[in-house]
């Protein structure tokens, strides 16, 4: 019943329709705020990958670790599984008058070891993550908070140079203050209206005192404040969590526990879902996507929907050959996105019409307009006028499933422009990222983005602002920077979003990266699961899912 509709969604171009059909298609679960009903003693198994780092929220930003961290921890806010709208979780209220000083009242929650979640838990946790000698991956998320530059110093010549980063003058950010056990006051360096939305991201989770007293013991047995507590971990095999019965959140999970199981291959995991050995899989192997085989293999137990992700190809703007915006616009119009979508993705990944993924709060449709529409004749005319020499070369890492669509993209470029286009892969993701990070890229490269937190801001600031944390192409436009700064400081979300949208249109005119298609997730589950909702961040909603033994 659910299957088949999956493809139909993408024929509808309007994201509001996408949103409502996502609600209809996601398994007939309960409405967003509700939990999954009766508590049962069934433990479900969920496909995952081995976390790449110890399970510390401030140092986790990949999907394998992220799923477990999301189940173990709950932040000040959480996101609706369907609409991705933020709502208060640990926070009772988040108040501000100027988008710069936030007063956050906390509910009386406890960690899994029984200790209370206090304002000081957040202060300590955030200071730990931001302090650069601790080397946490998510440190940059605190850059908005006053005093961040006093605790986080840059290595003046990068990691490969002989110089070391100077010791930060302070250990704590001046903008963080625990007024009392249940009141947290956060002062930002500049007004930033999106700050409350950020608070549901992993970097902002609280850590218990146990973490600071014995880090090794914590890593072996993580203690969070989320709906599930840690039970066991078998390297290379699984991580098992069980329901935390004293969980204070409004929504409570129905299942007794979750086993995050690591598979040697997606194909093996898929075979297990088909035969009912695995309960949930959020990625379907290409062999089952072909001809939409998964819809027959998993009758009534699969879903296909977009999530907050965007696939792009980016230009190394530090390379003189790519500095002409006309060239970048021409290439964008030379790509037949719909043809690639139909031929490679079976129509499951809708062509991008802007820089912001569907369902992201603040997004509007059609921002890219003409420039993302396939117009071979116009593209060829513009491209020839730029005088670009040599073949067009696209690159990506070969250790992931990107070769097919990149090759297909090349084919449409060749057809439109009559120029040679080659796909030149690099063996590993590490090597690929090394070249990008070192600003040594000389080809047009694949670059994806999945939202950290649901806001249009997260699709713009990190990638297009001068010096942004993921501005890999070294794009810089002072007018865009000024507009983004104004949007950040806007007194309300609506005014902020309007300014972000204006900035988006301005960035698209420069086309520092070509938006290609929106990411979609194909998920399947075993016959014993019901009320399955796949969140906008591509995870199984562990609150609403129910299972029979």
């Amino acid at each position: 019943m659910r299957t088949g509709r999956g493809t139909a969604w993408f024929a509808l171009p309007i994201s509001i329709v996408l949103l409502t059909s996502a609600c209809g298609g996601s398994g007939g679960g309960t409405d967003g705020g509700g939990s999954g009903g009766e508590q049962t003693d069934v433990t479900i198994s969920v496909n995952s990958t081995e976390p790449e780092n110890p399970l510390v929220p401030g140092n986790t930003n990949e999907t394998g670790g992220g799923k477990v961290v999301d189940a173990l921890f709950t932040g000040l806010v959480e996101y609706d599984p369907r609409t991705a709208e933020p709502s208060n979780a640990v926070a009772e209220s988040i108040d501000t008058t100027d988008s710069q000083v936030y007063t956050i009242r906390l509910k009386p929650w406890t960690f899994h070891d029984g200790t209370p979640v206090t304002a000081q838990s957040f202060v300590d946790s955030w200071n730990y993550t931001a302090y650069s000698p601790n080397g946490q991956q998510n440190a940059s998320f605190f850059a908005q908070i006053a005093g961040f530059d006093q605790v986080n110093t840059e290595d003046p010549d990068g990691t490969s140079g002989p110089l070391q980063a100077p010791q930060p003058p302070a250990q704590a950010m001046s903008g963080l203050r625990a007024v009392d056990d249940r009141t947290l006051e956060v002062t930002l360096a500049q007004p930033f209206s999106v700050f409350p939305t950020q608070l549901g991201y992993q970097a902002f989770m609280p850590l218990p005192q146990a973490f600071f007293t014995d880090r090794a013991a914590f890593e072996a047995n993580p203690v969070g404040n989320g709906p599930f507590r840690f039970v066991s971990r078998q390297p290379g095999a699984n991580i098992v969590l069980e329901r935390y019965e004293q969980f204070a959140g409004e929504r409570k999970p129905s299942v007794k526990g979750v086993e995050f199981r690591f598979y040697e291959s997606v194909e093996a995991a898929y075979a297990d879902v088909v035969s009912g050995n695995l309960d949930f899989l959020e990625i379907i192997p290409p062999s089952a996507i072909a001809g939409n085989l998964f819809e027959t293999d998993l009758p009534g137990r699969s879903v296909s929907q977009t999530y907050l992700g965007l696939q792009r190809i980016g230009f190394p703007l530090y390379d003189a050959r790519f500095q002409n915006p006309q060239l970048r616009q021409a290439l964008s119009m030379a790509i037949d996105r719909e043809a690639v979508n139909q031929q490679i993705f079976n129509g499951l990944k809708p062509p991008a019409d802007g820089l912001v993924a569907p369902n992201v709060p603040g997004r509007i449709d059609g921002q890219c307009g003409e420039l993302c529409t396939y117009q071979p004749a116009k593209a060829k005319q513009m491209f020839d006028a730029t005088g670009f020499q040599g073949p067009i070369e696209l690159t990506s890492n070969a250790d992931s499933g990107n070769a097919e669509w990149m090759q297909a993209t090349c084919v449409t470029i060749t057809q439109a422009l009559g120029r040679e286009c080659n796909f030149v892969p690099v063996p590993t993701f590490g090597e690929f990222r090394s070249a990008i990070n070192g600003r040594e890229m000389s080809r047009i490269y694949r670059t994806g983005w999945v939202a950290d937190y649901p806001s249009i801001e997260n699709f713009l600031n990190p990638m297009y602002r001068t010096g942004g944390s993921t501005n890999d192409g070294e794009y810089s436009n002072p007018a865009v920077d000024a507009l983004l700064a104004r949007a950040d400081a806007a007194p309300s979300t609506e005014e902020g979003n309007a300014l972000y949208q204006e900035a988006e249109r301005m960035i698209i005119q420069d086309m520092p990266a070509i938006p290609l298609y929106f990411q979609s997730v194909q998920a399947g589950w075993s016959p014993r699961l019901a009320n399955v909702t796949v969140t906008q961040l591509r995870e199984l909603d562990l609150f609403s899912v129910t299972a029979t033994s």
Partner: protein, 308 residues
């Protein structure tokens, strides 16, 4: 014999040191920073990379790194992966699974391969001979992953006779089908090797003598013929056990067997030098010991071969 074995065991030491050093060097030389791809489509913060490099001593000279690794290894410490898991624990979990899988595969290929080889070698040109020749040719022609996926889909998904994947415990029973897949190619080789060897030796003088002496056919074949014909087959099986253990990546991936093949593959991709070297060290030891065992078996099988 004892001195020979001892000499061979002492020879293991330089070989062991040489291979481990080479492997360490090779992993170290894989291009790309191991932490460059750790943060998704976002560059990792410099502070994170600096901390990790310091924690794993990656800024030292590669020889110094190797010496430190070897020093720890001698004390039984295989080191840690980048996510803080002990490599020793990973190997302890993966190795028994791989050994079981390799043994099942070896047993299947030895029993079926030898039986088919002996039967067809004795009656070459018959119906059975042609059947074995065609079916082994078929097995040699199709790649392992085709055999694997076909058996998994048909037996596991369509007929429901087996579970499509192997549980973490990976008992012998669960490993029969994966073992068959893994051993199928070698099984075909063993059958053909045995067949040729038997057919050749059937016409030798000592077999004619044995028959002329009036020995029962069972004794002629079982003792005189088979023993001599087994030498090339034993060589093949011995070396094959080594490659079955290290080269089961495809089979392990299809049936989700958590063995060393997948472990090495993932570790190479993420430049986890400690894991790759640790696992390969053990594979090298197994390989060397198997070779020694094969050489010793020669002397047992063929009285003309002496080592002292």
């Amino acid at each position: 014999m004892g001195r020979y074995v001892l000499r061979r065991l002492v020879q293991l030491v330089p070989v062991f040191l040489g291979t481990t050093f080479l492997i360490y060097l090779l992993v170290w030389a894989i291009p790309g920073d191991p932490f460059a791809g750790k943060c998704g489509d976002r560059p990792c913060p410099d502070a994170y990379i600096t901390r990790m490099r310091a924690e794993f001593h990656l800024d030292d000279n590669v020889v110094v790194q190797y010496a430190r690794y070897l020093g720890n290894l001698v004390q039984g410490d295989f080191g840690q992966t980048f996510n803080g898991t002990s490599v020793g624990a990973l190997i302890a979990a993966a190795y028994p699974v791989t050994v079981r899988l390799a043994l099942v595969a070896l047993l299947i290929e030895a029993v079926i391969g030898l039986a088919a080889g002996v039967l067809t070698g004795l009656r070459s040109g018959g119906y059975l001979d042609n059947l074995v020749l065609v079916s082994t040719l078929f097995l040699i022609a199709i790649p392992v992953f085709v055999t694997g996926y076909v058996l998994q889909t048909v037996l596991g998904l369509r007929l429901g006779l087996i579970s499509p994947t192997v549980s973490p415990a990976a008992g012998f029973g669960e490993l029969i089908v994966p073992g068959f897949v893994l051993g199928s190619l070698s099984m075909a080789y063993v059958a053909r090797l045995t067949r040729t060897s038997i057919a050749e030796n059937r016409r030798t003088d000592y077999v004619r003598t044995a028959v002329a002496k009036g020995l029962t056919p069972r004794r002629v074949v079982g003792v005189h013929l088979l023993r001599n014909s087994a030498i090339p087959v034993v060589t093949f099986l011995g070396v094959d056990l080594g490659s079955l253990m290290g080269g089961a990546i495809v089979t392990e991936g299809i049936f989700n067997i958590r063995g060393v093949g997948g472990l090495i593959f993932r570790s190479i991709q993420t430049k986890e030098g400690a894991t790759v070297t640790g696992v390969v060290v053990l594979l090298v030891v197994v390989y060397l010991l198997m070779n020694l065992l094969v050489d010793v078996l020669y002397a047992v099988l063929d009285p003309r071969i002496r080592y002292d």
